[in-house]
Symmetry: C2
Amino acid sequence: MCLDYHERGHSFEAVERDDGLLELPGGPELYFERPGEWEPLDRNAVEWAEGRVLDVGCGPGRHALALQERGHDVTGIDLSPGALRVARDRGVEDARKCDVADVEEMDERFDSAVMLGNNFGLVGSADRAPVVLGGLAAVTTDDATLVAASMDPTMTDRQVHLDYHERNRERGRLPGRVRIRTRYREYVGEWHDYLHAAPETMRELVGDTVWTVEGVEQDGPKYVARLEKSA
Amino acid sequence: MCLDYHERGHSFEAVERDDGLLELPGGPELYFERPGEWEPLDRNAVEWAEGRVLDVGCGPGRHALALQERGHDVTGIDLSPGALRVARDRGVEDARKCDVADVEEMDERFDSAVMLGNNFGLVGSADRAPVVLGGLAAVTTDDATLVAASMDPTMTDRQVHLDYHERNRERGRLPGRVRIRTRYREYVGEWHDYLHAAPETMRELVGDTVWTVEGVEQDGPKYVARLEKSA
């Protein structure tokens, strides 16, 4: 999907949810936008990054490139080989295939980590969140900053979403936990969990970790949080 | 999908094939195009219609409106209640819910029938084609014209299509028979057969019917055929 957009200027990203919902959330155009085209929320968020930065779920490098231009040393990680090829081709100096739950294997030390473009969702679920947040703690410095973008799933009036949230609650799950996969032409991604977490949910999820939510900037359902490592 | 595009100016149409392929073939924008935006093939094809016209698979009324503007009395049929509502709202004077295999139930008499926008595909399969073509014969006059648009499925180099054609041949099916359904957000259409038939295939399919292919205008894989009722 990223390769076709990069090489031919057109492709699409369809996201399928396990209840049969199919949406075109805006990619891939979105993933190639330059900072001037970003929403103010995202432009402000990159300013919170410090020093050497880990870009979690870097895709074709939208945020990594902007951070490099701001003088940061950036390592991008993603699971998609195609997205990583495009990221490198566009100038991301260090783009590696790595699951966010396995960052400890990298044996590196970053001053900050960013989960922009809604990528706090990569924590996946309440169960997986401590693993991911612990891994990010392990590869960052003692006074590291974590910049995490998410959205409040309950700020919607679409019945299909409200029904989905209700089924999640009935199963003891957070309402915004979605099981999704990406589809583009003959390419079908793996089913995986993704989490839309309201700010209060994010605060609860990080409660038992070394991270603390120090600031939140919100615009409608979307928000970006600045988390700091507690002493 | 048509309602959202009509009322809000945006929506999308994803078409899923039973081998997992997912494509955005171009609708709904395409279904709302005015004749000035059409490909020359389609502009020429509407000129082949005569007298009272049956528009098979009229959707939101792209061809029906153009035919009305040319002075024809037009009846559009479609299976989608949403598309029919939009067609009526846009000015199609007679838009009814009817399967093309059931046109005989209408007890009407048309001077011509059009299957534009690739809608010869609605014959579905080699088995179903005689039923559909017989029904269209029953509701048309003795010297009626049938205008049928299709495409040659073999004019492609995409492996996913070539593999699909091969599996069809192995099962004794025409290569361009596809089992598809439409998806848009939470709306999932019924799985149904659709047939992409090269001109020579169309000639074979109509061989045992009262219809004869009298002319073909082709542009790449796409073509429109003019069929006449044999004496």
